[in-house]
């Protein structure tokens, strides 16, 4: 290769990268940092772009987005954050990377218990933390979270890491209901009932129940529906199990929020608010409910039939903020009882 050709190639390659970058982007864009799988949210963003002409850029990660925005500082390109969990929401607010959304439309749509009193975040959908029980080996159809520590389940429970945010939020809710001492006792009881070291994800939990490693597993509502409807390879895992909506004694089923936040230094603030309001709109709520099998936050949007088949959701009325407040305590408790250790 001649020298000029090398230089020409290098320049072409470099400019291909640079021109792709948002640093040189025109207005009419919005940058979303998301914990949601790209594949899952892409159809939503495509519909948004079609409706508004605003292009959506995505950073997807399974951890650390708020730390990244914090590190990027005042010039961070982040406009909107999508989170999967109340813990992430709390972390983002605590990291100081958000600002109040200020949208009357949003306030009207999203019920008050699923919004931040200060306006930093709003829930856009809900999922419940439920039980995947073996159809063959589990006869009961109702169960309480408290009961998971009952010795009758000894060696029969499967669950992912206690430090995972979904479990963390469930344990935090337990602390909020019963206090830290009772929660520690309960968590030790649950640990004693485990069939194996906590590992994998919620799908693997269903698989282990199907394979007979354990009788009940703890997982989120939508994984079961995704396996049942969207993944022929994993359909048998769902088919071997039934979903039980557990409740707290004297309370309801633990629900978690996937939420939306407005970044503190959002360079495309107006577009960001447009996107946030759009996500709470009827169309997006229905798309979301059907694409990811979550409970919509907007009144009047139908729950997907698969999810409806679990039975009527009696969501716990514990304020989301109380769960968030107990997160650190729950995390420390998991370490303290050695929940994830062998």
């Amino acid at each position: 290769m001649s020298r000029t050709r090398i230089v020409a190639t290098a320049t072409a390659v470099a400019s291909a990268i640079f021109l792709n970058s948002p640093a040189f982007a025109q207005s009419g864009e919005v940058n979303v940092y998301t914990y949601r799988e790209t594949k899952l949210v892409q159809p939503l963003f495509d519909a948004f772009t079609k409706d508004t002409g605003i292009k959506v850029n995505i950073v997807s990660a399974s951890s650390g987005l708020e730390q990244r925005i914090k590190a990027e500082g005042a010039n961070s390109p982040a406009d909107v954050m999508l989170t999967v969990d109340v813990g992430r929401i709390a972390e983002a607010v605590a990291a100081g990377v958000t600002q109040p959304i200020k949208s009357d439309a949003l306030d009207k749509i999203v019920p008050a218990q699923y919004r931040d009193p200060d306006g930093h975040w709003a829930g856009i959908s809900m999922r419940a933390r439920v039980i995947y029980a073996s159809k063959d080996r589990v006869k009961q159809d109702a169960i309480t979270y408290e009961e998971l520590a009952d010795p009758k389940w000894k060696g029969k429970i499967c669950i992912r890491s206690g430090q995972h945010i979904y479990n963390n939020a469930l344990f935090a809710a337990y602390i909020a209901h019963h206090g830290e001492a009772k929660a520690e006792e309960w968590l030790r009881g649950v640990k004693a009932n485990l069939a194996q070291k906590p590992s994998g994800g919620d799908r693997e939990t269903a698989r282990d129940v199907a394979a007979g490693k354990c009788d009940i597993g703890i997982g989120n509502t939508y994984y079961w529906a995704l396996m049942m409807n969207n993944d022929p390879d994993k359909k048998p895992w769902a088919e071997a199990t039934k979903v039980i909506l557990p409740t707290f004694a004297g309370g309801g089923t633990h629900v978690n929020l996937s939420g939306v936040l407005l970044a503190k230094n959002a360079p495309n603030r107006a577009n960001a608010i447009k996107l946030i309001e759009w996500l709470a709109g009827e169309k997006a709520q229905q798309m979301y409910a059907d694409a990811n099998y979550e409970y919509p936050v907007r009144a009047g949007v139908a729950v997907n039939p698969t999810i409806a088949g679990y039975g009527k959701l009696n969501a716990d009325t514990l304020p989301i903020s109380k769960i968030a407040a107990n997160r650190k305590a729950a995390s420390t408790l998991v370490d303290k009882v050695g929940f994830d250790n062998n």
């Binding site: 640079f18 951890s63 990027e72 010039n75 390109p77 994998g200 693997e204 199907a210 007979g212």
Partner: protein, 547 residues
């Protein structure tokens, strides 16, 4: 001559800048670590550090032992014996290097999961519950030791093989005349003489193990590297993560010191004439087949099984859903890797050229610094690079605002320059190493002759050095390119908006519990690595004279 007068200081300056660039992340880590992390250490000391230190030590020792056993054992077998299939195995034994540790982890967990391929096969003969009990729990420390060891042993194999095949016959013959058996010769002559090579191979295995984050995290082994990740990203403490990184740097230093110690008192006492190499003794019959099996098993487990599994999953998934994003991810991977390769070659050449043109202690020192990047685990490197890169980006914006210009945004971060810089720092050791070796084979007489014929250094460089260095440059380019394709932790932290590479998309799929969707991406990485690894093998087969 005028070009030379400008070129020489320019190249020297470039060499110093390069060394400073490599040193930058370490300095940044130390500065960040100096900030207080209140409340964190009591938590770390109570719950995190004891486990992390225990798991890290156990993983390093375990993986080292597996790699040593397999690497040295197979290298000795193929170097000193003839047996059926030896020629084929010479090519196959290094190939597990084409399988990144994290991909091996995803593959093995999938294979041995309940209702997975192995379980379903077992149920042909056994009731499902009994078959279930037979499955090994791979998400554990022993599982991690096996999986990481089986793909990293080639580092030991390659360095041990280079030594074993050069060992002079006289020592072995003398020992045998004195009545030593074959085993005793191996244990008391061959192995001690190979010790320096084994130390080099083991050090590389240990550094790679320490660098790994994908496999350890997935297998539930909470090493120090994994703890850095969670301390920063889940507990929100950059300072705490930097402090843990310092701990990792201390371990890296310890490993390098151990390697130096392992290489002490190197035996280089070969006969003054070129040594008579040990002839290979034939293994016939059962012993021949045993030797074949012993060498074939690591290849099967470390390469063929993962490759077949990825092929099967890719074909199968293609019939279920086809994710076209994989081609875009592959494009990103190739662009980043290509830019980093070009930059690393250029800076590596400048570094070595500076010492060639004018040997001097500070230039040699710069060259040594430039080669240390490889010892930095990718995650530590990314953590150390992030802060200075963002500081530059933010300063640019402040400057633009002061000039009254439109703000450019985070140029280095969002253009991918940060990722490319991380690759260059981490893999710069490859071109500098290759070129240093390449230059050593070019006598200084050539330079002098060129100069007395009136050629400046630039001309000598262009017409004499570069043509002679072609194999070294090509080799370095291939190795850096493939290493960049595989790199995970730094890419994960530093990649820009809208950008996934093959490695990061595989990681995302796996951490969301659907690795099979990333099987095609994994297959692309492995396929791209096979050729270069096989190409590298050539080097291990050319006797290079006394070391």
């Amino acid at each position: 001559m005028t070009t030379t007068r400008i070129a020489e200081p320019a190249v020297s300056a470039l060499a110093v800048v390069t060394a400073a660039l490599v040193a930058l992340p370490v300095l940044a880590i130390v500065v960040i670590a100096a900030q207080p992390a209140p409340g964190l250490w009591s938590h770390l000391i109570d719950y995190v550090l004891p486990l992390a230190l225990r798991d890290t030590a156990a993983l390093l020792i375990g993986v080292g032992a597996v790699a040593l056993l397999i690497g040295a054992g197979t290298a000795w077998l193929v170097s000193s014996h003839d047996f059926p299939g030896r020629g084929l195995l010479l090519w196959l034994l290094p190939l597990p290097l084409a399988i990144p540790t994290y991909i091996a982890a995803y593959v093995y967990v999938d294979l041995f999961e309940p209702l997975g391929l192995v379980h379903r096969t077992l149920t042909l003969w056994l009731p499902a519950r009994e078959a279930l009990a037979l499955l090994p729990g791979l998400r554990s420390l022993p599982g991690a030791i096996f999986i990481i060891g089986i793909v990293l042993y080639p580092y030991v194999y390659l360095s041990a093989r280079a030594t074993f095949q050069l060992q002079s016959a006289e020592f072995a013959e003398a020992a045998r005349t004195l009545g030593a058996g074959r085993w005793n010769v191996f244990r008391r002559i061959s192995l001690p003489m190979a010790r320096p090579a084994l130390a080099v191979g083991l050090a590389l295995v240990a550094l790679e193990t320490l660098n790994d984050i994908g496999a350890s995290e997935y297998l539930g082994v909470r090493t120090l590297t994994v703890s850095i990740f969670t301390t920063w990203l889940n507990r929100g403490s950059l300072a705490g993560a930097a402090q843990l990184s310092c701990l990792v740097l201390v371990i890296v230093g310890g490993l390098i010191a151990l390697e130096r110690y392992g290489r002490r008192n190197v035996v280089t006492e070969f006969s003054s004439e070129s040594p008579r190499l040990t002839p290979r003794t034939p293994f016939k019959g059962v012993r021949g087949w045993l030797a074949f099996t012993a060498c074939a098993l690591p290849v099967l487990l470390g390469f063929i099984v993962p490759l077949l599994f990825l092929l099967h999953q890719s074909v199968h998934r293609a019939s279920v859903t086809m994710d076209t994003a994989v081609w875009r991810d592959a494009f990103n991977s190739v662009i980043f890797a290509a830019l980093a390769t070009l930059a690393a070659l250029g800076l590596g050449l400048a570094t070595i050229l500076a010492t060639r043109w004018r040997p001097g202690s500070w230039r040699a020192f710069s060259a040594n610094i430039a080669q240390t990047g490889y010892a930095l685990p990718g995650l530590v490197l990314a953590l150390g690079l992030l802060t200075p890169v963002l500081a530059i980006d933010n300063a640019l914006n402040t400057f633009a605002a002061w000039l009254g210009l439109a703000l450019p945004g985070l140029v280095l971060m969002s253009s991918g320059a940060a990722v490319v810089t991380a690759y260059v720092i981490r893999f710069l050791a490859v071109p500098t190493g290759f070129l240093r070796a390449g230059f050593e084979r070019i006598p200084f007489d050539y330079d002098d002759s060129a100069r007395s014929a009136g050629a400046g250094q630039i001309t000598a460089m262009r017409r004499i050095h570069l043509p002679l260095l072609r194999p070294a440059l090509l080799g370095a380019a291939i190795v850096v390119f493939v290493d960049c394709l595989k790199e995970l932790p730094a890419t994960l932290l530093l990649r820009p908006l809208n950008v996934e590479t093959l490695a990061t998309s595989i990681y995302q799929y796996a951490s969301r519990g659907s690795f099979e969707d990333g099987a095609l991406a994994a297959l692309l990485i492995v396929a791209a690595s096979i050729g270069p690894v096989a190409w590298l093998t050539r080097f291990s087969d050319i006797p290079q004279g006394p070391a």
